[in-house]
C-alpha cells in the first residue's frame, strides 16, 4: 500500500466515524462539530482526487461559514434535550422506513451507472504545473457563462429571502430614526382645539 492509499484510508475512516457521530451524538453542538470534522476529511479526500479548488472551497465555505450558521441555529433553538428524545422510539419505525426507501431509490438510480468504477476513471496523475483552479475557471467563464450568471441570480434571491424573512424591526429598540424626526409635521405632535375662552 503506497502512501497515497494510506492517507486515503485514514481520511475515509475519519470521515465515516465522524459522520456516524454526527447522527449518534446526543448533544447537537457536538454533532455540529463532528460535521466540521467530516467536512475536513471530505476536503482531504477531494484533494487526493486532485480537485484542489473544490477542496479549499469546501473548507472555506462549509467549515468557515455554513457550520457557523449551523451552530447559531443549534444554539438559537434553545433545544430542550430531554423533550427532544421523547417519542424517539415511536417515530423510529416510520422514519426508518422512509429513510430506507429514499436510500434504496437513490442507490437504484445512481449506482453502477454513475458511481461505478467505469464511470469514474482515475483522472491520472497530473503534473506539478497543472492548475486545477485555472482549468475550472477556463470552463466556467467560457462555456458555462450562462449558468455562472444564473448562480448570481440564485445568490441574489437568497440574500433577499434571508433579509425579508429574518429582518423585523425590534420593538424594544431605542435607536433614533433621524429622518422620521426631521420629517415630523406639526399636526403629528400638536392638536389645537378651538374652545370658548373661560371666564372667572
Amino acid at each position: 500500500m503506497d502512501f497515497k492509499s494510506a492517507v486515503f484510508y485514514f481520511l475515509a475512516t475519519v470521515l465515516v466515524l465522524a459522520s456516524l457521530r454526527v447522527i449518534t451524538a446526543r448533544n447537537p453542538v457536538h454533532a455540529a462539530l463532528f460535521l466540521v470534522l467530516a467536512f475536513f476529511s471530505a476536503g482531504g479526500i477531494w484533494m487526493l482526487l486532485q480537485a484542489e479548488f473544490l477542496a479549499i472551497v469546501l473548507v472555506m465555505v462549509y467549515v468557515g461559514a455554513v457550520m457557523v450558521l449551523f451552530l447559531f441555529v443549534v444554539m438559537m433553538l434553545d433545544i430542550n434535550l430531554e423533550r427532544l428524545r421523547q417519542g424517539f422510539w415511536s417515530y423510529l419505525p416510520l422514519g426508518a422506513t422512509i429513510g430506507l426507501l429514499m436510500t434504496l431509490e437513490m442507490a437504484l438510480v445512481l449506482a453502477g451507472r454513475y458511481y461505478g468504477l467505469e464511470a469514474m476513471p482515475d483522472p491520472g496523475a497530473s503534473g506539478a504545473g497543472v492548475n486545477n483552479t485555472k482549468e475550472l475557471g477556463r470552463l466556467l467563464f467560457t462555456d458555462y457563462v450562462y449558468p455562472f450568471e444564473l448562480a448570481s441570480v440564485i445568490l441574489l434571491v437568497a440574500i433577499v429571502a434571508a433579509v425579508a424573512l429574518t429582518k423585523r424591526p425590534r420593538k424594544e429598540s431605542k435607536a433614533q430614526n433621524a429622518a422620521a424626526q426631521i420629517a415630523v409635521r406639526r399636526n403629528d405632535r400638536l392638536r389645537i382645539v378651538s374652545m370658548p375662552s373661560e371666564k372667572e
Binding site: F72, G137, L155, V163, S173
Partner: protein, 124 residues
C-alpha cells in the same frame, strides 16, 4: 500536482501533534485523584440552576447568512482571477471575460444594496 500539497499535509500533522501533545502529556503525567469535595463548586461558585443554553438573537443568523452568500461570491472570484490574463488575452473574448464578472457582481450588488437599505447591516 499532489506532491505540491505534501507540505500542507506535514503542516496539518505537525499542528495536530503540537496541539494534542501537551494535553496528552498532561493527562498522562498529572496526578488525577478526584473526590466529591474537590469536584464540587467552592468559594464564589454555586450549583447551576438553569441550562447554559440560551436563545440567540435572530440577528446573528442574518449576519451569518449574509456572510455565507458573499463568501460564495468570493469563491467565484478566485478562478476568475486565476484565469483573467488568459481570458483577456484571447482575441474573440477580450472584454467578455471582464464584462461577465461585472454582470455577476452587478446582480449581487442589487442584493447588497437591498440588504443595506433594509437595515440588515445595522445592529440597532
Amino acid at each position: 500536482m499532489l506532491e505540491n500539497y505534501f507540505p500542507v499535509l506535514v503542516f496539518i500533522i505537525v499542528g495536530i501533534v503540537f496541539g494534542c501533545m501537551p494535553m496528552v502529556l498532561g493527562w498522562l503525567l498529572a496526578p488525577h485523584r478526584p473526590n466529591a469535595e474537590k469536584g464540587s463548586a467552592y468559594e464564589c461558585g454555586f450549583e447551576a440552576f438553569e441550562e447554559a443554553r440560551l436563545k440567540f438573537d435572530v440577528r446573528y443568523y442574518l449576519i451569518a447568512i449574509i456572510f455565507i452568500l458573499f463568501d460564495l461570491e468570493i469563491a467565484f472570484l478566485f478562478p476568475w482571477a486565476a484565469i483573467f490574463k488568459e481570458i483577456v488575452g484571447t482575441p474573440g473574448v477580450k472584454l467578455f471575460g471582464f464584462v461577465e464578472m461585472l454582470v455577476f457582481l452587478g446582480i449581487l450588488l442589487i442584493g447588497y444594496v437591498y440588504a443595506w437599505a433594509k437595515g440588515a447591516l445595522d445592529w440597532e
